[in-house]
């Protein structure tokens, strides 16, 4: 028992030294300490966009809070539970934010640490409620608008998409992209493939090249690789995913962007309300995401590359975007498994 206490004290002491702490915390709180566990690494669009948004929120200082963060290396499986337990036992964090499919691990800890707020993100999580909040991200709306553009831009009549794994929050944007393309070009052929990994650029290139060989000339790439776009620069235009990767290839026209800022702000508000007003945690048991109108998603700038596609494609996109902004275009949500048609 003594040994156990000693090493816990050691951990607490070390984490204490790495996370600024307010010794006598005034009411309302002035500081929020977040431990973040990511699944892939900041180089992936999923984690990278989140960490960038977190930095923006820290600078914005909601509720005048000083927000400090500690970000883990990419972790998965049982390691996540161990890491979360270490963070929780240290007593040095207010929110443990698991930025992936971590509900199995959080379920083991949430009742043991009822004063901590847990966050899990994305598909594959089971709703837990209580002190566990389920954050979600959908970028199907900008994907649909870029699909409208693709429907006009294709000359071969074949648009394609290479996805990571067929999950709810991957299927939605691929389906939306194809739906957008079909809305302006019903006769279009769509091709879809999944690399069966969250991050495998080498395999991604193989799949993209295969689709290009099959006639795809507008490619919606969700797989963090754009080298095939460069290799086929005479024929292919690429649409990125989640972040603005325009500098990675001159053939990238745009991308649906994931903006996590409103999600983070919403959950900071929840924590603040709990701390300042004593409002009990009431974690959502349904998927909750911020729409494009709410600032949770956007379309990346064309960066002056409009000439990659016909003018009518840009015009159709602008018209669809204006209709969405005016509330006249309802973009359907379809999470079924996308298939080539």
């Amino acid at each position: 028992m003594q040994i156990r206490l000693k090493w816990k004290a050691f951990i607490a002491a070390f984490l204490f030294s790495t996370a600024p702490v307010t010794l006598a915390q005034a009411d309302p709180p002035k500081q929020l300490r977040i431990a973040v566990i990511i699944g892939n690494g900041p180089e992936s669009a999923w984690d990278g966009t989140f960490l960038e948004a977190l930095e923006r929120v820290k600078k914005a200082k909601p509720h005048d809070l000083t927000i400090t963060t500690k970000v883990s290396d990419p972790l998965w499986g049982n390691d996540v539970e161990s890491a979360m337990r270490l963070y929780a036992q240290s007593g040095q964090f207010d929110i443990i934010w698991g930025h992936s499919t971590y509900s199995d691990q959080i379920a083991q800890l949430k009742d043991e640490f009822p004063d901590l707020m847990f966050v899990m993100t994305g598909s594959g999580n089971a709703p837990l409620g209580g002190n566990v909040y389920w954050n979600y991200k959908r970028v199907h709306e900008p994907a649909y608008l870029l699909g409208v553009l693709a429907g006009h831009a294709t000359t071969s009549g074949v648009v394609g998409s290479v996805g990571t794994l067929p999950a709810d929050d991957v299927n939605d944007e691929i389906n939306a992209f194809f739906a957008g393309a079909r809305s302006v070009n019903p006769g279009i052929v769509t091709k879809v493939a999944f690399i069966q990994s969250w991050y495998d650029p080498a395999k991604a290139a193989e799949y993209m090249n295969s689709q290009i060989a099959a006639g795809v000339d507008v490619m919606f790439s969700l797989v963090d690789n754009f080298s095939p776009c460069d290799e086929h620069k005479e024929t292919v235009v690429c649409i990125g995913n989640f972040r603005d990767d325009w500098q990675r290839s001159p053939r990238i026209l745009s991308a649906p962007l994931a903006l996590w800022d409103p999600d983070i702000e919403r959950l900071v508000d929840v924590w603040y309300d709990h701390e300042a007003n004593g409002t009990p945690y009431a974690g959502n048991t349904q998927m909750l995401w911020s729409t494009m109108a709410e600032g949770g998603a956007a379309v990346a700038s064309f960066h002056g590359r409009e000439s990659l596609v016909p003018a009518k494609a840009i015009a159709a996109f602008e018209a669809a975007k204006a209709a969405y902004d005016a509330g006249k275009l309802q973009i359907p949500l379809d999470v079924s498994l996308p298939v080539s048609k």
Binding site: A83, G124, A126, L165
Partner: protein, 350 residues
């Protein structure tokens, strides 16, 4: 200068050589931690605490070591026979998948019956995959390296199809490539009330002892080792090589499959696309570090299980990158391979 084989290296010499490798490995670990910019002292304390600093840490280290030991043992038996398979990865998955299917078929039966049937199904799954590689080798002369590597892909994609289709979780969660959570009654029982120390740990120890006895004391073990030394001579002696290849690959498949069922039914309690990933390949490294001996593999597996858990503590507490453990693993592998050569050979001036 000539390289001479030592005749029967003494135990003292073996301990000295491997001890020196361990010390150099520790020093190089310190260098790597320094390069990462983390405080060395605090990192080493965190490493120790994570590896074996408390009953919970010890349990976690042992649980992490268990699949490594099993896939290492699966490697031992094949490599000692001169069969250079890399199919441990798919055998792990085949075992887990077969067990999962059995759990679906037997839902509603008494938990002990379900668990036993699931473990048996896992063994059958691993054995079938091992037998397939053996058949390719003995019937068509296809190298087991090629066929097992290709089977890894096939099994991986079959699993991806199963967990995104027939086995995909439904209800309560958004669609995702994973099965639902296994009913708690069907989880492998824990042997102690600390962490996830499930009964698979005991099974792994039993397999270590059994394989050690098999390879050292039993006629089949002699044949396995003899095939590794000189398969042609063994054939001349009248041993049926086809039967032996099949036997070895089935044993290997069964042992690797135990790792799969242990991880899914004892630790993660659901099948996903990545919770079994890498175990087979890690087992090859563990077996090589363990000198292709079951007892050596046990020690190497425990060491790397502890290292893995310790590195997690280092990352969380002092910020040392977890990728460092892979680098340390590589360094230790090289050092132990060198130690193995130094133990067995000496240089003599001509």
């Amino acid at each position: 200068m000539r390289i001479i084989t030592r005749s029967g290296p003494s135990v003292t010499w073996s301990i000295a050589v491997y001890g020196a490798a361990a010390v150099v490995g520790l020093l190089m670990t310190i260098v790597l931690i320094s390069i990462s910019g983390a405080p060395v002292g605090a990192s080493l304390v965190a490493l120790g605490q994570g590896a074996a600093g408390s009953p919970a840490s010890i349990a976690s280290s042992v649980v992490k070591a268990t699949p490594l030991i099993l896939t290492g043992l699966a490697t031992c038996v094949t490599y000692r026979a001169g069969l250079w398979t890399v199919g441990q990865e798919s055998q792990v998955v085949a075992g887990a998948a077969a067990a999962w299917q059995m759990s679906l078929w037997t839902t509603g039966m008494a938990p002990v019956v379900v668990i036993v049937l699931c473990v048996l199904a896992a063994l059958a799954g691993g054995a079938a995959l091992g037998a397939l590689v053996a058949w390719f080798r003995t019937r068509f002369g296809i190298s087991e390296i090629v066929s097992s590597m290709m089977l890894n892909y096939i099994v991986f994609f079959a699993l991806a199809w199963l967990i995104s289709g027939p086995w995909m979780a439904s209800g309560g969660t958004a669609s995702y490539q994973q099965t639902g959570l296994l009913e708690r009654a069907y989880w492998l029982p824990n042997i102690v009330d600390v962490g996830k120390m499930h009964i698979g740990v005991v099974l792994a120890l039993i397999v270590v002892i059994w394989l050690q006895v098999l390879l050292k004391r039993m006629p089949l073990g002699y044949e396995i080792r003899a095939m590794g030394f000189n398969a042609t001579a063994l054939s001349q002696r009248g041993v049926d090589k086809r039967r032996l290849v099949l036997t070895v690959m089935v044993i290997s498949g069964v042992i690797a499959a135990l790792a799969g069922v242990g991880e899914v039914f004892g630790v993660s309690h659901r099948l996903t696309g990545d919770n079994l990933s890498g175990m087979g390949f890690d087992g090859i490294i563990i077996a090589l570090i363990g000198g292709l001996s079951p007892l050596g593999t046990l020690v190497a597996g425990l060491f790397f299980g502890a290292l893995h858990n310790g590195s997690l503590f280092m990352n969380v507490i002092t910020g040392v990158p977890t990728a460092l453990v892979t680098a340390i693993q590589g360094v230790v592998l090289i050092l132990f391979l060198i130690a193995g050569a130094v133990r067995r050979y000496r240089i003599e001036r001509a």
